[in-house]
Amino acid sequence: MTRALRHWAAVIAFVGPFLFMLLMFQYVPVARMLWDSLWDFALLNPDKRTFVGLGNYLDLFDDPDRRQAFLVTFGFAAGVVLTVIPVSFLVAVYLNGTLPARAIVRAVVFLPVVTSAVVIATMWTFLLDPNNGLINGALVILGLPKLAFLTSKAQALPSVIGMMLWQQTGFATVLFLSGLQGIPRDLEDAARVDGCSALQRLRHVVIPLLSRTTVFIVVIMTVFSLQAFAPALIMTSGGPEGTTNFVAFDIYQLAFSLQQPGLASAVSAVFMAVVMGISLVQMRLLRTRWTY
């Protein structure tokens, strides 16, 4: 065997299985999804199908329920990113210092990250129960009225955002912490010598130098939020009045419960394009201007 052949044999041996899996379970299904989005059929009888061209895409944009699902999902993602980023940054700054109980706080904060999304959603369903939930119990002790949480049109989405904040803060904190620990000490020392206060050092040195980490966390949190499925399935069934009907759950409902896999595929295709677009815009807007 020649050297070139041996080289290619090694390449195929190492990369081939992964490429095969990637093709089989990622790109072929995506291509199939795009193809299915051009047809009207039911999962119960997939052989009986009608070609509708872009009809499913037109229906999608014409349907208020689909538009609501997209808006709810983007609102949810914005809520999660805007709450997780500052909270996790502050926790990371705390954990990066020399304050007491750091190890315990780090473990407590990270614990929800390694817990199943289904378990968390189930647990929060009990916590947010309007009759016997722990959170309402606490409100009553404080002399406050009980809240409806998941059965209220106004409170359901914020409640689920609260759950995601609790779940994802640990992950974002660990990322921020690694970013903080990677900032060269001498940069902060130089700022201190120049007379910067702690707040000024944070604002003018730490935050700019964390921009790579921040971009990564923003993109990751956005993608996690856009994929949200378990809260809708387990906690709210997408209600009340569609206020927690996330796109991923909507796709599932369309395909399996409402027997419209063609429309579900069209929603998936549009959603995939939108998520890719959002990620690109985020990376562009939050691109690193400082490095070290």
Binding site: V28, P29, V30, A31, R32, M33, L34, W35, D36, D40, F41, A42, L43, L44, N45, P46, D65, D129, P130, N131, N132, N136, V140, P145, K146, A148, L150, T151, S152, K153, S237, G238, G239, P240, E241, Q253, A255, F256, S257, L258, Q259, Q260, P261, A264, S265, S268
Partner: protein, 435 residues
């Protein structure tokens, strides 16, 4: 993509049972080998281990392999299986979905397997539910209807005596009055609710089997067919293709408002589920099926309880229909699978199950032999099936209708405007019915 993915998933999920469907090596007792029939069924529902072992003891060369899923996942699982080339031999499915599955070609018609006289032995609502375009797809294992259970110990001091006869059934106004009197506490501090929350579906308000009755009772099947009263009672056109103008009539909106008032005006029932609210004395009344009584008999809740017919407004009505067993059209063992269906749905195996579970029989002959069906309290359920019972709105797209209407009723219970939400539901379901 979905079809591909579901086919892949279904193949993976059912590879083992399908392989088990092959016959084992021949033995002395079974020269053709032991055949394994695979069954997809919801957890805690028939066919029970007792039914299976009774059948297997008379059919030594056939074994039954169960694949059980939670009831809430059953319909989705069946949807996935439809794309598979080797689905299970038998499905335990919700009776109202018979038309959906039959129209999609998932189920095998069983007419040719029915022994003489069997069709005549099936109670009318079951026969109607399990028939599609003149063919029958399941004999039926059981029937169901809903009635109002009450805690007699709580009602006695209040001087409330619910009626025991269908002729004297309460109206909803009377029932709500009794529930209000019995409830303990109000606002945020309710210790005993007038009416227990629904335990059906995913334990939120709105499940069609229970809660769409609040709407249908505002209709009248004897009114002229073009009237909104008539349309309200049926909830869907006779051909199962039109909901617009049937689901959202003025009377239907009235019914939905009454349903919402239980939560938001009278505040006699909670919006979120409370497990075992009735058994734990956290509710005076609960709406439930006949086999709920089996639970109360087997696990004494520690109080006297009774049953009264389901209250009504204009027309008394209960939904019929229950889980039933059918043979998949792609089964490679249709003869054996059909024999299993008929054997466990009729005769002694079915009778033993109906007796043990306090389930209403789908066979008239079994009903005639079960003495407690003629005695209070379970006679109420049986009489309701006979006098007030109707299938849930029949359509080849019932599953979609069920989902959309259930979601609408849940939202109405949570405070959505009844008319706006029913209009939205009719608009959403209409194109699906017309497909």
């Amino acid at each position: 993509m979905l079809r591909f993915a579901t086919a892949l998933l279904a193949t993976a999920l059912f590879a083992a049972p399908a392989l088990a469907g092959d016959r084992s090596a021949p033995t002395a007792d079974c020269p053709q080998g032991v055949l394994t029939l695979s069954v997809l069924k919801p957890l805690n529902n028939p066919p029970t281990p007792a039914m299976i072992s009774a059948w297997e003891s008379g059919n030594k060369c056939i074994k039954i392999a169960l694949n059980e899923v939670p009831f809430g996942q059953l319909a989705d699982k069946i949807s996935v299986l439809a794309a598979a080339t080797n689905p299970p031999d038998l499905l335990m499915f919700d009776g109202p979905n018979t038309q959906t599955y039959a129209a999609a070609g998932i189920l095998l018609p069983l007419d040719k397997y029915f022994p003489a006289g069997l069709k005549d032995d099936i109670v009318a609502p079951t026969l109607a539910e399990h028939t599609y375009e003149g063919k029958i797809y399941s004999p039926g294992t059981q029937q169901a209807s809903l009635a109002l259970y009450y805690n007699a110990d709580m009602l006695a001091p209040l001087g409330i005596t619910p009626p025991k006869d269908l002729d004297k059934a309460w109206t909803w106004a009377q029932a709500i009055e009794a529930m209000k009197k019995c409830q303990k506490g109000e606002g945020d501090n309710v210790s005993v609710w007038g009416l227990a929350p629904s335990r059906f579906g995913n334990a939120t308000p709105g499940f069609v089997f229970r809660d769409f009755l609040f709407v249908r009772t505002f209709g009248d099947p004897k009114a002229p067919p073009e009237s909104s009263l008539y349309k309200t009672y049926w909830g869907i056109s006779p051909d199962g293709k039109t909901a617009q103008g049937w689901l959202n009539t003025p009377e239907a909106v009235e019914g939905a408002k009454l349903f919402a008032d239980l939560f938001n005006v009278h505040k006699i029932t909670p919006k979120a589920g409370i497990p075992n609210a009735f058994q734990d004395k956290k509710a005076c009344f609960t709406i439930d099926v006949s086999y709920f009584a089996a639970g109360l008999v087997n696990n004494d809740p520690g109080f006297k309880w009774g049953v009264t017919p389901l209250p009504y407004v204009r027309t008394p009505v209960v939904h019929t229909g229950s889980l039933t067993l059918g043979v998949t059209a792609k089964s490679t063992n249709p003869d054996e699978a059909a024999k299993f269906v008929i054997d466990v749905s009729t005769g002694k195996i079915a009778e033993d199950y109906n007796r043990a579970a306090r389930a209403l029989p789908a066979m008239k002959s079994i009903g005639a032999r079960i003495e407690w069906l003629k005695e209070y309290p379970l006679n109420i359920f049986q009489e309701e099936v006979e006098k007030w019972g109707h299938p849930r709105p029949p359509s080849a797209h019932f599953a979609q209708y069920d989902k959309i209407v259930s979601d609408a009723l849940r939202d109405i219970a949570y405070g959505a405007d009844a008319k706006t939400r029913l209009d939205a539901a009719a608009r959403a379901v209409q194109p699906l019915l017309a497909r």
